[in-house]
């Protein structure tokens, strides 16, 4: 009897293809963003380029920023910021856009959110390559040993993106206009993060924002390890990590409790 139980258990889970599934979902998501519209790659490149150009012109000519290598400062901050925005925005829509799968087959829907995060991460890596290229061109070979902290920061950001995606996609089941709401938060969040202005000003005048805006600490430490060659502020790093865990587990809790309603409500 035990034998048949074990046999039926293994029969039910014939192969574990979870990783492959997440990979293929992420891949098609990434491709459909950049390849299926003929100009997808073009738009994907031109938009951040224009944005950087605009911020650069305004903050160097009008505000006379004294940040050294402002173009790199700007770009590196935007790296994480774009990753965060793109990841969470994909997360909000994924239950709707993958509804055709949810209705047809039983599978763990968390995989969908992991795949959107992964897809945004791919976009990030392309941006990062562009950043490295530019930093070599304008800054010589600015490679510091502190860059070994970069993967840690990236990992925390991934966890943060996934956590927020889980929360937002759960909310999207019940609130159809969550995207608009999130767009506003993101817009405010951009100006609450030291991307276009210096992090010293930020830390001097609005230190409490560090605890409100989860991306601020990550961007500050990214600047530190990537641009200044200083080790990360470990207090901020610890806070970011703790917060990302909290957000992730809240997201996971909410999602597992409410995601079964997805097909019905959306």
């Amino acid at each position: 009897m035990v034998d048949t139980f074990v046999a039926s258990f293994f029969k039910r889970i014939p192969e574990n293809n979870k990783l492959e599934r997440i990979w293929v979902l992420a891949k098609v998501d990434f491709k459909s963003r950049y390849y299926y519209h003929k100009l997808g790659v073009f738009w994907a490149l031109i938009r951040p380029a224009i944005e950087i150009l605009v911020y650069y012109s305004i903050f160097t000519s009008l505000f006379k920023t004294d940040i050294e290598h402002f173009e790199l400062y700007l770009f590196s901050g935007l790296l994480f910021w774009y990753f965060f925005v793109e990841g969470t925005s994909k997360g909000i829509n994924v239950l709707l856009s993958k509804r055709y799968l949810i209705e047809s087959v039983q599978f763990n829907k968390v995989d969908l959110l992991i795949s959107t995060t992964l897809s945004a991460l791919m976009g990030f890596l392309f941006n990062f390559l562009a950043y490295l290229l530019i930093s070599i061109i304008v800054g010589g070979f600015p490679f510091f040993w502190t860059m070994i902290y970069f993967p840690v920061l990236l990992l925390i950001t991934c966890l943060m993106v996934l956590g927020f995606s889980l929360i937002l996609s759960t909310l999207s089941i019940y609130l159809k206009d969550i995207q608009h709401f999130w767009d506003m938060i993101v817009m405010a969040g951009f100006w609450m993060t030291p991307i276009v202005y210096s992090q010293e000003i930020f830390l001097e005048n609005l230190p409490w924002l560090l605890y409100v805006n989860p991306m601020a600490g990550l961007v500050i430490n990214l600047h530190n390890v990537l641009l200044y060659g200083t080790p990360p502020d470990f207090q901020i790093l610890g806070y970011s990590f703790a917060l990302s865990l909290v957000v992730f587990f809240i997201g996971l809790g909410l999602f597992s409790k409410f995601s079964h309603k997805a097909a019905e409500k959306i």
Binding site: P14, L101, K176
Partner: protein, 264 residues
């Protein structure tokens, strides 16, 4: 005696011996109530503006006290008028809809539901959709690779492998979905008014054979359809759902006859 009826008698003889004793789906005390607000507040603004206004909600009872046991290898037909709860029943089985409290859904295998018009991302090619759907169902890339040619062959889409599905005709989409489903090693196939009149004679013969092979391999099929002759051909058992309740169940000929008597 025409060709069709010959086929019918053969397939019935083929199939009827194959039903096993093992229960693969067991639904116990399934109720499903939808709460539909007369005015639905599903945005943040509306929710905020109507925070203290009690919402009038209408209860719609989609399914009432469904108890159903389906055996491995069984071909079950589901009939009933539009809106009687057939699709809801199938969505309960896939887990897309949770049943009301107290209901229990036990599924002892992998399950795919096919219905018209969904199942694919239109922007992806046939190849990509095969990989996405295959891995969602639980197949490894290796497995999908092994079956890939069979799927394409069955769907007769050799020259459209790398064409986005949005350029496919509805017949081609149906063929592709069905080809994936029967090659996906699922234990249970839920067909929700799937063959809505698409598919030519060639595909009909193919799917006829696929049905038989599927059942022979101890797989289970649940078919929701208005095509009653199809059910007479294949089904071991037919259930009739009326306003969310199973009002009749048993021998296909008998159930279908009773169902038709309703209209006369």
């Amino acid at each position: 005696m025409n060709f069709k009826s010959v086929q019918a008698s053969i397939s019935n003889a083929d199939i009827s011996t194959e039903v096993s004793e093992e229960t693969i789906i067991r639904l116990t005390d399934i109720n499903k109530t939808f709460y539909v607000a007369e005015k639905q507040y599903d945005s943040i603004m509306e929710k905020a503006l109507n925070l203290f206004k009690p919402q009038k909600q209408k209860e719609i009872k989609a399914l009432t006290e469904i108890n159903l046991e389906i055996k491995r290898g069984e071909f079950l037909g589901v009939i009933g008028k539009n809106g009687s709860g057939k699709s809801t029943l199938l969505k309960i089985m896939t887990g897309a809809f949770p049943p009301d409290k107290g209901g229990k859904v036990e599924i002892n295998g992998r399950l795919i539901r096919l219905s018209l018009g969904i199942g694919f991302d239109a922007n992806l090619t046939a190849r990509e959709n095969i990989y996405v759907n295959g891995s969602i169902i639980g197949l490894t890339f290796k497995k999908i690779g092994q079956k890939f040619d069979d799927i394409i062959e069955f769907a007769d889409l050799r020259s459209f492998v790398d064409t986005p599905v949005k350029f496919f005709s509805s017949g081609m989409v149906t063929r592709l979905a069905f080809a994936i489903a029967i090659h996906a090693e699922a234990d249970i196939l839920l067909l929700d008014e799937f063959f809505g009149g698409v598919g030519d004679e060639d595909f009909r013969l193919k799917s006829d054979k696929a049905f038989k092979d599927f059942i022979k391999n101890d797989k289970t099929i649940i078919l929701v359809t208005h095509n009653l002759s199809e059910l007479k051909t294949y089904a071991h058992r037919v259930i009739h759902i009326q306003e969310g309740e199973i009002v009749d169940s048993g021998d296909p000929e008998k159930v279908i006859q009773n169902y038709l008597n309703n209209f006369s």
